[in-house]
Every structure is written in structure tokens, then in C-alpha cells.
């Protein structure tokens, strides 16, 4: 009996599920490969070795080791066009997946996604104003990003205050206020679009609203990258509290979580993160809803693993979605939101038919 117990006792350290470390290493390799492929593919195909030679020569002082055997045009395509684009895909994918995970824990609802707080519709109002009417022109090339971010910030503040009753956040009110504000702001966006003076602008606005990485520039990378990294590290450091949040309010209070404080912190962090991502690449749907569920299905619900793995899976998914968006109707481009929904939707439905995963509800 003692021996048997000793054997079982060992089990507690060995997880039957895939370990975080194995999964992370594996996914990082897949991400690196996908990234390389994404930079190779395009109207001008580039050799994978050249891709990394250019990247290394641009980032490190390696003139002695790498002799440039590529043209200036190739260098320009790889470094100034495709690199920022794939990096933006990684940032947005990872960020949206992480936010989705945290928001689903916050509202204890498996249907929640990063846009549930009305952030994307607020951003759309700002963005369409810039695209169609040239508003905020004082910000120059940053007008679109700034306007979108301001829009998302305002809608988030509105939802946040609507969700409070007597200083406490009610999650049901949060969801409902988010939906209502989203609908109102979507109507405002539609109104702006139909009163737009020119056809061309409408197409650009539509493109933006469905999410697109086509505007990626190096100058747009540092802020989203830093914000996403900090946001992720913060959420990851709170993994215990996020786990407990899923157990309900009573459990959270009795296990020493400062519930109101923590909820407000989560709302602010996730909304700011979403705002930054949306303002750079529009509202790319499906990633934030779907990726957390896929990861939980394989890895279990512990946020210590779910958060980093979601970030990696989200990044890989969006890199591939972007490859599709660029190549399927090349030389034209599709909004990436169409790809994420068209590829993600059926996969998600397949997942839904599997009985092994409960999506946070009863089986």
C-alpha cells in the first residue's frame, strides 16, 4: 500500500497533459518556420537563407561574416515590407489570444472575446473618420492609429462606468453594456461610411474594419510590441488569481483575492491592450475567441500554461492567416479578418462537435 502511494505521489509532479516546456519549444520552432515562410512568399520569392542573412545583417554588426548576395530591392522587400508585417501578425495574434483568455476568465463566459468591451467599435468610429474625412490630420501619418486608439479608449471608459453599480463591477452588466455600446458605435460607423464622399475611401474603411496588416511599417511595431509584452507578462504573473476567478466570486474572496480591485485592473489592462492592437491593424476577429478554447482543450485550464501557449498559437495562426490573405487572390489582398473567420470558423465548429471539451459549461 505504501509503495503504491509512493508511486502515485510521484504522479503529482508529472502531468499527463503536454508539459508547458515541451509545447512552448515546439510552438516556437513552428513560429520561426512560419515566419520564415511568410517572408519568403510573395510576388518576389526570396530564399529562406537570404531572409535571415538580411535580418542578421540589419540587426547585428556582421559585415565580416555575411557578404550581401542580394539586390537592394530584395533587401527592401524583406526588411521594410515583409518583416514588419510578419512581426505585426505575431504581435496581434499573440496579443488577441492572450486578451481573449483573460477576458473569458474575467467574465466567466466562454463566448467572450477581446472586443466584448466595445473597444473595436470605438476604434472603428475613429478610424473611419480619418479614412473618409481626413480627420485628425494634425497627427500626420499617425492620424489613423491615434484616432482609432482614442475611439477605443472612449468606448472602453463608457462601458467601464456603465458596468458599475455602487462602485462594484457586475460582469453581466459589463457584457451587456459592452454589447450595447458596440451596437451604438457600429451604427455610428455605418452612418459615417454611407455619408462618405468617395467610393475609394469606403473600400479602405471596410478593409480596415475587417482587420488588415497591409499598413505594417517599422514605426508601428515598437509600441504594440512593448504593450503586448508588458500586458502578457502582467497577466501571466496573475495566473493564480485568473484560475481562481474561474471558480466564482465566493472562491475568489475566500482565497484572498481583492476581487473588485483585480477585476478593474483586468478590464483596464485588457482594454488598453486591445485598443493598441486594434488601432494598428483593425479588428481581426476570431483569434481571441477561438485560440484560448483550442489551447484549453489540449493543455487544460491552468492559466500558467494557457496564457503563454495561447500567445504562441495565436501568433502562428495569424502569420498563416496573413499568408493566405496575401496569396489566395494575389496580386489582390483580402482583409485578414475574412481569412481568420473562414478558416477558424469551420475548425471551431468541428471542435464544438467534440464532446470531450465542455467550453466552460456543463457537459
Amino acid at each position: 500500500m505504501d509503495k503504491q502511494l509512493a508511486v502515485e505521489k510521484e504522479h503529482i509532479t508529472v502531468r499527463k497533459k503536454v508539459s508547458l516546456y515541451t509545447a512552448a519549444v515546439l510552438l516556437l520552432a513552428v513560429l520561426a518556420a512560419s515566419m520564415t515562410l511568410s517572408i519568403m512568399i510573395g510576388p518576389v520569392p526570396i530564399h529562406p537563407v537570404t531572409v535571415w542573412e538580411i535580418a542578421l545583417s540589419k540587426t547585428l554588426p556582421l559585415e565580416a561574416f555575411i557578404t550581401p548576395d542580394w539586390s537592394v530591392a530584395e533587401e527592401n522587400i524583406v526588411w521594410n515590407l515583409r518583416f514588419p508585417r510578419v512581426l505585426l501578425a505575431i504581435i496581434a495574434g499573440a496579443g488577441l489570444a492572450v486578451i481573449g483568455t483573460a477576458i473569458q476568465a474575467l467574465v466567466r463566459n466562454s463566448l467572450a472575446d477581446p472586443y466584448i468591451l466595445g473597444v473595436s467599435s470605438g476604434a472603428s468610429v475613429g478610424a473611419t473618420l480619418v479614412i473618409l474625412f481626413g480627420a485628425f490630420s494634425i497627427f500626420g501619418p499617425y492620424a489613423l492609429v491615434t484616432a482609432a486608439f482614442l475611439g477605443s479608449l472612449l468606448s472602453m471608459i463608457l462601458v467601464f462606468f456603465l458596468a458599475q453599480v455602487g462602485g462594484k463591477i457586475s460582469t453581466v452588466r459589463l457584457l451587456l453594456a459592452g454589447i450595447a455600446v458596440s451596437m451604438i458605435l457600429s451604427a455610428v460607423t455605418s452612418f459615417i461610411v454611407i455619408s462618405a464622399p468617395q467610393e475609394e475611401g469606403i473600400k479602405t474603411a471596410m478593409f480596415w474594419m475587417m482587420g488588415s496588416l497591409s499598413g505594417a511599417k517599422w514605426t508601428f511595431i515598437p509600441i504594440p510590441a512593448a504593450v503586448t509584452l508588458i500586458g502578457f507578462l502582467f497577466l501571466w504573473s496573475q495566473y493564480r488569481s485568473l484560475n481562481i476567478l474561474l471558480m466564482g466570486e465566493e472562491a475568489a474572496v475566500t482565497l484572498g483575492i481583492r476581487l473588485e480591485h483585480f477585476r478593474k485592473l483586468l478590464i483596464v489592462v485588457t482594454a488598453l491592450l486591445t485598443g493598441v492592437i486594434v488601432s494598428v491593424c483593425g479588428s481581426i476577429g476570431f483569434v481571441g475567441l477561438m485560440v484560448p478554447h483550442i489551447v484549453r482543450l489540449v493543455m487544460g485550464s491552468d492559466h500558467r500554461t494557457v496564457l503563454p501557449i495561447s500567445a504562441l498559437v495565436g501568433a502562428i495562426f495569424l502569420v498563416w492567416a496573413d499568408i493566405c490573405a496575401r496569396t489566395v487572390i494575389s496580386p489582390e489582398e483580402m482583409p485578414i479578418g475574412i481569412v481568420t473567420a473562414l478558416c477558424g470558423g469551420p475548425f471551431f465548429l468541428w471542435l464544438l462537435r467534440r464532446s470531450a471539451y465542455s467550453f466552460g459549461g456543463e457537459k
Partner: protein, 266 residues
């Protein structure tokens, strides 16, 4: 660790659920709270474990107002097993019990070997050790309840607050859990449904009715025919059981007392 509830009044939706409650749980005591459905037992416990804030009065842990103490500090000292066990998203049993270690973990501190040992020992104590890696949602109601008790044990608190903790359990596991609570030598405040079980385990009993404490004392003094008739509206025979030497109640089903407040509301 002792708990004092002083002049606590609590309202939910404008209705006064607790009226001027006075209650004391001394260090190391097993205190039972009994009373009919809707008498305010759960509400009182919810005030003690800080899910509800009293509208008047204070609740003190070792003489300090629990609402002024840091949440983490209270959670290190008070563990709770409540009636419902949520099943949301699939955690495995070890993950659920590990949550009980949270109040003892500092920012960014990882689970240590010691935490894992505690988790395993607590599961062993409730007889659930072989389910460490089973998903929580696939357990039966009683098994879930035992896991929740293991989580409370993993908290290593000096005070256990139990809200009808043995609700979903068969008799073997009811006795197992309450024996465990008694053997831990911690302070226990428990709302109990089964009066014979209360008689057997409690050092002291508070009787609640319609939001008030109507009687308090040792089981022998409180569990009387008169109290059962007045508060629980049942006729019963009360004796000292020759084997256990504790109060034993036998209900007399033909002697149901009509409830005046129910009759009036019809």
C-alpha cells in the same frame, strides 16, 4: 484563533436577513449553527467569510475587524467550504486543490515541492488521492465536495467555516469529513442540517430562527423537545444515546407542528 460577531445586521434586497447577531467562536472550538431553511445560517457565514458585508456591527478575527485586514491575511487564517461547487472550465483535481495554496504564495512565487506535498496529503485525507489528475467536472457531487474540502485543508487555515459541508455526501463520507475537521484541532464554525450530527460533533450550538439567534449553549442544553417544537416545528423524542453518550433525537413524523408563518402567508 477566535471569531466574534458583534451586533451584526445584514440586509439583502431591502429585507433584513440577520438581526443584531451576537456570536462567539473560541479558539479550537467546534461551533454549530442550526436552524430551519431560510433562518439566516448561510447569510451569517457569508458575512463571516466576507462575501457579504454587514450593514451594521463588526466581525472580528482575534479582535481585529475582518474587513480592515488585508484579504490575503484573512485567507491565510480562514478557509471556507460552501454549499455549491462550481464547475467551469476543466481544471484537474490537483489544480483545484493547489488554489488553496494561493494565500501563502508571494507574487511570482512558483509552486514548490512542499506545496505539491501538501496538496497530495490533503487529497489523501479526504480519500481522493487517486483522482489527482482527474478532471473536476467528471467527478460526482460528493467527490467534488471532498475536493473542495481538500482545497480548504490546503489553505492550512486556523479557522474552518463550513456551510453545510456534508450536503452531497453519503453517511460514511459525512462522518469522515467531520471527524477530520475535529481532529485538525482548528476552530470550526459550521452550519449543519443534521441535528444528530450537530449533537455529536459540536462543542457549542447556536440556534437561528428568522434571522435571530434564539438559543445558544451546549448540545445537551439546546437540543430539547421544546426547542425542536418551537423552532423546527417537529415533535421529537430526545435521549442520551447509551453508546455515544451524546444527545440523540428521534423525530416523530406524526407530530408535525403546523408553521404559523406559512399558514399566514397562504
Amino acid at each position: 484563533m477566535n471569531i466574534s460577531v458583534k451586533n451584526v445586521t445584514s440586509c439583502i434586497g431591502g429585507r433584513e436577513i440577520l438581526k443584531d447577531i451576537e456570536l462567539r467562536v473560541h479558539s479550537g472550538e467546534f461551533v454549530g449553527i442550526i436552524g430551519p431553511n431560510g433562518s439566516g445560517k448561510s447569510t451569517l457565514l457569508k458575512n463571516i467569510y466576507r462575501v457579504l458585508k454587514p450593514d451594521a456591527g463588526v466581525i472580528e478575527l482575534e479582535g481585529k475587524d475582518i474587513f480592515k485586514l488585508p484579504s490575503r491575511k484573512v485567507a491565510q487564517n480562514v478557509a471556507v467550504v460552501s454549499q455549491d461547487t462550481p464547475s467551469l472550465f476543466d481544471f484537474d483535481v490537483a489544480e483545484i486543490v493547489s488554489m488553496g495554496r494561493t494565500p501563502h504564495k508571494k507574487f511570482l512565487e512558483a509552486d514548490s515541492r512542499k506545496d505539491r506535498d501538501i496538496v497530495y496529503e490533503c487529497l489523501e485525507k479526504v480519500g481522493m488521492a487517486k483522482y489527482v489528475h482527474t478532471t473536476f467536472s467528471s467527478l460526482s457531487g460528493g467527490e467534488k465536495q471532498r475536493v473542495m474540502i481538500a482545497r480548504a485543508l490546503a489553505q492550512e487555515a486556523k479557522v474552518l467555516v463550513l456551510d453545510e459541508p456534508t450536503n452531497h455526501l453519503d453517511i460514511h463520507h459525512q462522518l469522515q469529513i467531520l471527524n477530520l475537521a475535529r481532529e485538525l484541532n482548528v476552530t470550526v464554525a459550521a452550519a449543519l442540517h443534521d441535528l444528530n450530527i450537530a449533537a455529536y460533533y459540536c462543542d457549542f450550538i447556536y440556534v437561528m430562527n428568522q434571522g435571530e439567534i434564539v438559543e445558544a449553549g451546549k448540545p445537551l442544553d439546546v437540543l430539547t423537545k421544546g426547542m425542536l417544537r418551537r423552532v423546527f416545528q417537529v415533535e421529537a423524542d430526545v435521549m442520551i444515546h447509551p453508546v455515544t453518550n451524546k444527545v440523540h433525537i428521534t423525530y416523530l413524523p406524526d407530530g408535525l407542528v403546523s408553521r404559523p408563518e406559512l399558514a399566514a402567508s397562504r
